[in-house]
Structure formats: structure tokens, C-alpha cells
């Protein structure tokens, strides 16, 4: 890997990830700023007012990766970034488990903030993942949040 080539890593996996390890990968020479988003399973569903025992994430293999690649490439078009890592877990997860990591490195901090925010907003509306919450014997497919469509407006 040459000093200036952008570092791109996209992973869909069952296993947990270690944020420190991912940040070390994004520590390229002369990077300066790294912004990360980490999504965590909540233990309580406030809309439906009930405890969440666990959650299962399913996805569309192949399409997921290609949709995330499109979003990541678009982020490199818009900002000067030195690296992007996207890790999204699938399978059964428990409250407080990590779900998603989006890490963006840049020489300039605002680029890293904007790039990370942009990738998360698009991932939320385009990457084909679906969450089902499990509470005792009930399954509840999570509804799409209309606010996620509104969030995209800031990138137009």
C-alpha cells in the first residue's frame, strides 16, 4: 500500500469488531483526523414501549456489498479522504452489542466528519439490511424510519 493510496475496507460479518484495531488501520501516514460512527443494539424499544431481548439482522448478500461500495466511492468523490472502513454485522445480536462501524480518515477534520455522516445516512436508506427484534416469542420487523429519508436532504 503506497503512502497516498486510499484505504477502503468493507466487511459484512457475524463476528464483533474491535474499534481500536480498525482505527490503527485508518492511521495512515499523515492522516490527521479520524471520525467513526458506532451503532449499538438498544435494550429498549421506546416506540413500542418494550424491552428488546435480542435482534437478528439479515441482508442481501452481494447487493449489500455493492450498495456500500457505491456509497463509499461517492464519499471519495465529494471529499478528500484518505481511508474508509465500513463493517456491518449480521445474525443474532444482544442489547449493547456493536452493529456497525463506519470509520473515515482525512487530513482535514471537517471532511472526516462529513464523509462519515454521509456514509451513515446513505447506508441507512440504501444498504439492504433488515432488523427483526425478538421479545420472548414475538418477532417484530423494525419499520423504516422516515427521518432517515429526511436526513439525506443535507447532501443534495
Amino acid at each position: 500500500m503506497s503512502k497516498n493510496s486510499p484505504l477502503i475496507k468493507i466487511k459484512i460479518q457475524n463476528e464483533d469488531f474491535d474499534v481500536s484495531d480498525e482505527i490503527k488501520i485508518l492511521h495512515q501516514n499523515n492522516t490527521g483526523a479520524i471520525v467513526n460512527f458506532i451503532g449499538v443494539v438498544r435494550g429498549y424499544d421506546e416506540k413500542n414501549n418494550q424491552i428488546i431481548n435480542s435482534m437478528t439482522l439479515e441482508h442481501y448478500p452481494g447487493m449489500t456489498e455493492s450498495e456500500i461500495e457505491k456509497i463509499v466511492f461517492e464519499s471519495f468523490q465529494r471529499w478528500e479522504l484518505t481511508g474508509v472502513t465500513v463493517i456491518h454485522r449480521i445474525g443474532n445480536l444482544k442489547p449493547s452489542d456493536q452493529i456497525v462501524f463506519v470509520g473515515v480518515s482525512s487530513k482535514h477534520r471537517q471532511n472526516a466528519f462529513d464523509g462519515c455522516n454521509f456514509i451513515m445516512d446513505w447506508l441507512k436508506t440504501k444498504a439492504p439490511f433488515w432488523k427483526v427484534e425478538e421479545n420472548n416469542n414475538k418477532k417484530n420487523w423494525v419499520n423504516f424510519n422516515e427521518n432517515d429519508n429526511k436526513a439525506l436532504k443535507k447532501w443534495q
Partner: protein, 83 residues
């Protein structure tokens, strides 16, 4: 043609994937949906609110008037909820 279903749509159909032989007169996604509705009532339940359904043809977001052929993979799923 391979048809894939995800999330609650998969549960309504009762399978995650099925293979069908696409009749010659069916040229786009809309026509496929009408054809499926004729075969089995379970499909009409899914497609009655078409605005809630997302479509991918060969793993790319597509629309109801996207052209399809027997070699394509088509997927129906609700709006995504990852992240």
C-alpha cells in the same frame, strides 16, 4: 428466473427464494407481479401496497417498469433498516 424475498415479505411468501420459468409475454416487473398475483393469493397480499415494496433486478435498485428476462435475479423487499 430467480425471485428472492426478504424480511416480512419472505415470511408471507413462506420462502426466501424461488425459481420460475418466466412466460414470454412478461417483460417488466409490473407484469411479473400481476402474473404472480394470478398464481397465488399470497402474493396479492404482499403487492397490494406496492409503494411499500423495494425492487432489485440483478442486485441493483430498480422500478416497476424495469425490463426483465428469464436470466435475471429479481428481489422484493421492504425499506431497509440496517445501520
Amino acid at each position: 428466473m430467480i425471485i428472492k424475498y426478504f424480511s416480512w415479505i419472505k415470511e408471507h411468501v413462506g420462502k426466501s427464494e424461488e425459481q420460475i420459468e418466466l412466460p414470454d409475454h412478461i417483460n417488466n416487473v409490473n407484469e411479473l407481479i400481476n402474473y404472480l398475483n394470478e398464481i397465488d393469493k399470497k402474493y396479492s397480499l404482499i403487492f397490494e401496497k406496492k409503494q411499500l415494496i423495494k425492487i432489485a433486478v440483478n442486485k441493483t435498485y430498480s422500478s416497476f417498469d424495469t425490463n426483465i428476462s428469464n436470466n435475471d435475479e429479481i428481489a422484493f423487499f421492504p425499506p431497509v433498516t440496517g445501520g
